[in-house]
């Protein structure tokens, strides 16, 4: 099965590409500046670079995989839609009222997040279900037709329907859909009982409306990418990364566009999971530091930690947790991340009290940091790294993005003058402030959840992650720092390591001591079948991974905990076991259990996933590359079967070393020269094509299998 697979990840600053030869495992990577005005431009530029490097034709690509921010951006910039909402009469203001809270407590000019459907396009439909799903007021079909007529006349073709208690009884929503289809030709309908069949009307409506709102944008974006691929002669289908780390076909994504909203971060975690498995690390914290933000995630026993409650567009401040209520809630599985506004492009500034702050404002791709020489004048984290010698002038994007050290120095110098300190002190301080904000984020992910970082490895990636990882490890005591090869484009690589996956969850509120086990069993079977039906047809094979779970809480609690349910029939004994497992989980998570208290299930969940593709071993790939002497693929070193040796630096450059504010001549290694078994001691810099790793003074670095860098404090 020869051929290529190509993966493209679009971020706020860079568009990354990885092309892999499926047989040899040989890969080529590239990085171009993103093109926010039309992301497909960056997509094809990146694709062309990778094809050219590999000397490959698009027709030889068996699949094109893509992580995109197009759905996110449509929401963040309110450029999706237009969409309408049909709700139960008397409750059409569900989006306007939202949670009735302010996300910024002390700003008298604060605003609520703007709903995705304007109030004039939110209609009441006369009908009412009771909490148990029984009908109090039958559906008044004329009230649906009245609303439909106005929607039709307005030209809106995307409609969300969210009726009260429809998660228990979807029949009214289904009938509304039939009427809308009759009345509005070409309408696209999102039903809350399909998109997010869960209790609590606001998050369910918000999710359903988001689906309706991003649908048109995602649809035209996918169409333009597919058309561009066809024009270039591609024969393969387009796959998209979903928020839950699973791949979807273009058709899947068009069906439920809301599921690709957190596409990019999911791809990064998928790659980190891949490397965690390769090196046999079960407990991992991930640090993905790109141009705009830093995201901290977690991999527990090979699986990235997910959550089902998050908000899109929530404001993230440097060093502070996300403000609840500042964004729009989206139900559905998504990677559990703490994201802060501290990336390479984050701008350093002086607050009214004279204190240096970094981020959350970013220089982005345009103009970018001062050192990009594209007109940026404000000093950024990347400028500080350049000024301090940690990033070399030709370190960025394999030298295709030459850096202007003088521009970086000038920007830092202006800041230093205002602070009344030397440029060196100012640059060091920028990194200190950015690092301390990230340490806070990492603390949130670990210590604040009761987890001790000493038992975890830190996998650092993204363009800036490998530069900043050692400081995290020193501050929090991580067991080791892991830098995967291609760390700078790891999210794109993650696409190649991913497989189709569907997470499905339904409301199922039953007290566990009186529940009918047969009903649990039947519901689990049903939702698993529904989940499988949502997989791409080619992924519905027999070797699916099938996970079942229930979300459970003590009666009276507001938060639930997910507890796995083993496969097979669910009987009375299983119910008892589930109860005991819940008590244990509660003890582990919250520090106590109440084995005599009443317990209720809130949701049942099914997750089905196709096996992840194997990726040919890197050592083989490296040899293949060396034999063919292809120009500049990543990892063009010799094979990995030689004994350990001390690596030789390719040179040195003056750089800032650890705590002392002193410049020293620091040895510089080329990542492409390193091979398995090599060791080197910090302080040292390792220049890769897409990122630079900073090995701090007290660390030793060993090149492990698959050319993963292991950094351990001496």
């Amino acid at each position: 099965m020869s051929g290529f697979r190509v993966a493209i990840d679009i971020g706020g600053t860079f568009t990354d590409v990885v092309l892999i030869d499926t047989e040899s495992g040989e890969r080529w990577t590239g990085k171009v500046l993103s093109t926010p005005h039309d992301p497909s431009e960056g997509f094809f530029r990146a694709l062309d670079i990778a094809l050219e490097l590999a000397g490959a034709e698009i027709g030889a690509c068996r699949s094109v995989l893509h992580a995109t921010t197009v759905a996110t951006n449509a929401v963040l910039t309110r450029t999706g839609g237009p969409a309408a909402l049909l709700a139960t009469d008397g409750f059409r203001d569900v989006l306007e009222i939202a949670r009735q809270i302010r996300h910024d407590l002390y700003d008298l000019r604060t605003t609520k997040p703007l709903p995705l459907v304007a109030r004039e396009w939110a209609f009441g439909v006369r009908e009412r279900l009771r909490y148990d799903g029984s009908v109090l007021l039958p559906l008044d079909e004329d009230s649906v037709r009245e609303a439909a007529a106005q929607i039709r006349d307005s030209g809106i073709r995307s409609v969300a329907v969210c009726l009260l208690h429809s998660y228990v009884n979807p029949t009214h929503e289904q009938r509304v859909a039939e009427i809308l289809r009759d009345e509005i030709p070409g309408v696209s309908i999102s039903l809350s009982s399909v998109i997010a069949p869960e209790t609590r009307e606001y998050p369910r409506a918000s999710t359903t409306v988001a689906n309706a709102y991003v649908g048109p944008v995602v649809g035209s974006y996918i169409a333009s990418i597919e058309a561009g691929l066809r024009d270039r002669g591609a024969s393969s289908g387009l796959w998209l990364m979903k928020s839950n780390g699973g791949l979807a076909t273009a058709a899947n994504a068009l069906e439920r566009p809301v599921e690709i909203i957190e596409s990019g971060p999911a791809a990064g975690l998928a790659a980190a999971s891949h490397y965690a498995a390769l090196i046999g690390s079960r407990d991992v914290v991930t640090l993905d530091m790109g141009g705009t933000t830093a995201k901290v995630g977690m991999i527990d026993d090979g699986e990235s930690l997910q959550t089902t409650a998050w908000e899109i567009g929530s404001s993230a401040g440097s060093g502070s947790a996300v403000a609840h209520g500042s964004g729009l809630p989206i139900l559905g599985s998504v990677m559990d991340l703490v994201e802060i506004g501290a990336g390479g492009g984050s701008i350093a500034w002086i607050d009214p009290g004279g204190i240096l702050r970094v981020g959350p404002r970013s220089a982005g791709a345009d103009p970018g940091p001062a050192c990009y020489g594209r007109g940026g004048t404000e000093p950024t984290v990347t400028d500080a790294n350049v000024f301090l010698g940690r990033i070399g002038a030709t370190s960025m994007a394999g030298g295709r993005l030459p850096l202007d050290g003088a521009a970086a120095a000038a920007a830092i110098g202006r800041l230093a003058a205002r602070l009344g300190v030397s440029s060196l002190d100012a640059a060091v301080a920028i990194l200190d402030v950015a690092d301390s904000a990230m340490i806070q984020a990492t603390r949130l992910m670990t210590i604040r959840r009761g987890l001790d970082p000493h038992g975890y490895d830190l996998i650092a990636f993204g363009g800036a992650g490998p530069l900043h990882a050692c400081r995290q490890a020193t501050a929090l005591g991580f067991r080791s720092v892991i830098i995967p090869p291609d760390a700078g484009v790891l999210s794109a690589f993650g696409l190649l390591a991913s497989a189709p996956r569907v997470d499905h969850r339904v409301a199922f509120r039953r007290r566990i001591d009186v529940v009918d086990p047969a009903e649990v069993s039947a519901t689990l079977d049903r939702i698993e079948a529904e989940a499988i039906a949502r997989l791409p047809p080619e992924a519905r094979g027999g070797d699916l991974r099938r996970d079942r779970a229930a979300d459970i809480r003590y009666v009276g609690q507001s938060w639930d905990l997910r507890v796995a349910i083993p496969g097979g029939a669910f009987d009375a004994a299983a119910a008892e076991r589930l109860r005991a497992d819940f008590d244990a989980a509660h003890e582990r998570t919250h520090g106590y259990a109440a084995p005599t208290a009443l317990v209720e299930m809130v949701h049942l969940a099914s997750s089905v996933a196709a096996p992840r593709p194997g990726i040919a071993d890197r050592a083989v790939a490296d040899r293949a590359v060396a034999d063919r002497a292809v120009a500049a693929p990543v990892g063009a070193a010799a094979g990995g079967d030689e004994p350990a040796r001390t690596a030789r630096p390719s040179g040195s450059r003056p750089a800032f070393v650890d705590q002392g504010v002193v410049l020293a001549e620091v040895p510089v290694y080329r990542f492409n020269d390193l091979r398995e078994g090599d060791t080197l001691a910090g302080p040292a810099l390792i220049d890769g094509d897409d990122s630079t790793t900073y090995v701090a003074g007290p660390f030793d670095c060993r090149v492990g299998p698959h050319r993963v860098l292991h950094l351990v404090a001496r």
């Binding site: 409750f91 203001d93 009735q100 809270i101 302010r102 209609f123 604040r448 106590y592």
Partner: protein, 577 residues
């Protein structure tokens, strides 16, 4: 104040501050996870802080702005009252609200950090316990004196040598309705302060005692300097504002709330001596609640990002008359004082608006709006009680309309979802929507109030503890007042209106309609862009009749979709009780 910081020290202060706030955050997480009471776990009604040896606040973590001034008042008062040496492993317990809490439910725990026999500082946690005894389940009701509100705990040593004093605990648990929750919450508080002490000593071990001591001084100096710099932007002089609470719930007499604010170079002084004398009712508040209102208003005016520590509190002076509603003395009841805090906040903001109109907002709903009901649950045959607070409109701002349906200022709790509430309680909601035409008109209008209509499966007793029926939210700079709060029984039939504070028996099947006030308008209504008026009509926020009558804008479009889809609207009903 020591001399200015060396620039390199200043550069590292942000990191030191993160470390301290990180400790209080961790204390909060510990408390929240281990607590039993809903108030703590989901309403986040608590505060965790670090203090130095001089009882100066150095870092705090809290989610409700009403706690902005509580611990800063409470902790120095507790330490002064206790007045005995504390040793490592000790902790003091206190809920004596007049020392600084909001009500007796706020139980405070103070533990010293002792290094080489010397007290270096304190870790403190205060949490709202669900019940501390007294005449009402939950301990917050309409009472004449504090003795009816629950057990009063003066500063007592509850922990000695790391061991809980069983007699103190027994005394406490014997006096509350939910001893299991009370003990669980207290142990959660002990866990929280012990995490705080541990992390605080780790920080000292890592950086050394002198460096931490200097760091604290630098941090407070920096905050103070930044606060003074922010005040420097305010015009010098004296400003004032006055408003009235409808009544105290016992008599019909309005309650005067008045603030005279003087801005000088280094201080902002809130003279509240014009406020009414304390009442034999629960509407009184404490020095702690009063400081929260003043600190909130000032913070909004100067720099929302200011670190919250003693350096900030130093610039605030609060002058009160002991025995007034804003500085009540025993035996005043204080359980409902949050409404007084809410109104004092608006009065202070109104005063600031006279000199800083660009930063200000017109009046908001201006009340906590407590709603509770209970009775026999026909689904279970057992008694049930339900409590919630409801949002209202926010005032208009320069260039911005007020927010619709929002919890303003010192209040910030989420609404209970319709579906969940109907599943858990024998109640059904008839409608939950914005109240059209409830806005205060203006160039930038106020936000709309919120309507929530309840119908019950069985007979219930229904209570409202609120405000702003007589005195509606006012506009600013020529903006108009908003529609006041309306509490209406059987809105489609007899339509009986109630005053601000009432309890009524409602039979099964009858509707209670709570329609909250909108926000006041900002600026002359004549200056409102007609396009915005038309947009409001199109979105159903105001009716075309009101657009014509109040804004002078004729909108001869057919009734909007919204108006047609809301049949039998009775939203403009105005009935005198």
């Amino acid at each position: 104040m020591t001399g200015p910081l060396a620039p390199t020290d200043a550069l590292r202060l942000e990191i030191f501050r993160h470390a301290l706030v990180g400790i209080t955050d961790e204390m909060s997480v510990t408390l929240r996870k281990a607590a039993y009471s809903t108030n703590i776990k989901t309403r986040l009604d608590f505060s965790c802080s670090l203090f130095d040896s001089r009882a100066r606040t150095i870092a705090q973590s809290f989610a409700q702005p009403i706690h902005l001034g509580t611990l800063a008042t409470f902790v120095p008062a507790i330490l002064a009252t206790y007045d005995a040496p504390l040793e490592a492993g000790d902790a003091i317990l206190c809920n004596q609200g007049h020392l600084g809490g909001l009500h007796l439910n706020d139980v405070c725990l103070v533990a010293p950090l002792v290094i080489d026999g010397e007290t270096f500082g304190y870790a403190v946690s205060m949490a709202h316990h669900v019940d501390v005894g007294g005449g009402t389940p939950g301990s917050i009701g309409l009472h004449r004196e504090q003795y009816q509100e629950g057990l009063i705990i003066p500063p007592v040593r509850v922990l000695h040598d790391g061991v809980i004093d069983r007699s103190v605990l027994a005394m406490l648990l014997e006096n509350v309705r939910s001893p299991r929750e009370a003990e669980g919450d207290l142990r959660a508080q002990l866990g929280s302060v012990s995490v705080g002490l541990r992390r605080f000593s780790e920080l000292i071990a890592e950086r050394g005692l002198p460096a931490v001591r200097r760091g604290i001084d630098d941090l407070l100096d920096y905050t103070h300097r930044r606060s003074v710099a922010a005040i420097a932007h305010l015009p010098r002089g004296t400003i004032e504002a006055t408003d009235y609470l409808d009544d105290d719930g016992m008599t019909d007499e309005p309650v005067k709330i008045s603030a005279r604010i003087t801005i000088t170079d280094e201080k902002v002084t809130f003279d509240l001596t014009g406020c009414a004398a304390q009442r034999p009712s629960s509407i009184n508040t404490t020095r702690g609640g009063t400081l929260s209102a003043c600190a909130y208003a000032l913070r909004c005016m100067i720099d929302p990002d200011l670190p919250i520590n003693d350096g900030f509190y130093q610039v605030i002076d609060v002058i009160t008359t002991p025995g007034s509603v804003v500085d009540s003395v025993r035996p005043a009841a204080i359980g409902g004082g949050a409404d007084t805090v809410a109104r004092l906040t608006e009065v202070a903001l109104r005063a600031f608006a006279s000199i800083l109109p660009d930063l200000s907002a017109a009046d908001s709903k201006g009340t906590m709006l407590n709603i509770s009901f209970g009775g026999l649950n026909p689904r279970t045959g057992r008694y049930f009680v339900y409590y919630e607070t409801q949002a209202g409109g926010y005032g208009g701002r320069l260039g911005l309309d007020g927010m619709d349906a929002i919890q303003p200022h010192t209040q910030n709790t989420e609404n209970a979802p319709i579906e969940e509430t109907e599943s858990n309680y024998p109640v059904r909601f008839v409608r939950y929507e914005l109240v059209p035409d409830s806005e205060g008109p203006g160039r930038w209008r106020g936000g709309l109030g919120l309507r929530r209509d309840y119908v019950f499966e069985g007979d219930v007793t229904f209570s409202v503890m609120a405000e702003r029926v007589k005195f509606a939210p006012q506009g600013l700079l020529g903006g108009g007042p908003a529609r006041s709060n309306h509490y209406i029984r059987d809105p489609q039939g007899k339509a009986i209106r109630f005053p601000s504070k009432f309890t009524v028996d409602v039979p099964a099947g009858e509707v209670m309609s709570i329609q909250t006030a909108g926000g006041g308008g900002y600026g002359e209504v004549a200056l409102r862009d007609p396009a915005m008026v038309r947009a409001d009509v199109a979105s159903g926020r105001i009716t075309s009749a009101r657009a014509q009558a109040v804004y002078g804008v004729a909108v001869d479009s057919p009734p909007s979709a919204a108006e047609r889809a809301t049949p039998g609207s009775d939203l403009t009903t105005e009935i005198q009780s």
